[in-house]
Subunit: 97 residues, 2 copies
DNA sequence: CTCGATACTTTCCAACATGGAAAGTGACGG
DNA sequence: CCGTCACTTTCCATGTTGGAAAGTATCGAG
């Protein structure tokens, strides 16, 4: 309603996506497979969450052929970084940071 | 499984409940009505979330008749405080605290 | 050109979580 | 008895999830 509504972002708040954002926030980009291992979910589940982040304009999905193998690398967009940071700030406010 | 599984608590993570815990964490107790106003939800919704926190053993619900009116005050139990703090610590880890 | 492997994507589906509205409950005060 | 206050519970329609399985695209091998 108040400030909560402006910064609190459900797309970012869901556990798997919060983890993805947290991982991508501290690196330039990360492979799909690496993120999957870190988050500990299946291919299909990560794929669906990444899709949601992508549709929200928060994550950039780049497919590059490296060593004749398609590798998908993920990275936060500027909007994604802003949304993540705003959400984290809101979490800190709520949890008494 | 990993540290995430041990500290991350879905009961605490849901937005309305995270707010309730955050509010109760900094006071000894708070009236149902005050919490409802702060969280910005309806009676029924708060009641249902409080019930979940109560069933998890995180919140204590005390009904006292004050000025011939029943007043319900909520407070975190020791377990609730521990769960909240562990969850917050986990959030900080995930979000790069 | 067909086959199998790699690396995701999408679909299918059953389970669960939510919120709003409305009905229900218990304790007064009139 | 009745109405009010302060929640509780029920009803219901919707939205989100994850796992399993099928689907797609791109090689390299045969």
């Amino acid at each position: 309603m108040t400030a909560v509504q402006r910064r609190f972002d459900p797309v970012v708040h869901a556990p798997p996506r919060l983890q993805v954002c947290g991982l991508l926030a501290v690196v330039d980009n990360m492979d799909f497979a690496t993120v999957r291992e870190q988050v500990g979910v299946s291919d299909s589940v990560l794929s669906k969450h990444v899709k949601q982040l992508e549709e929200a304009g928060y994550v950039n999905v780049r497919k590059a052929t490296i060593a004749s193998r398609v590798r998908t690398s993920l990275s936060l967009t500027a909007a994604g970084r802003a949304a993540f940071e705003a959400h984290v700030a809101e979490l800190r406010r709520i949890t008494g940071g």
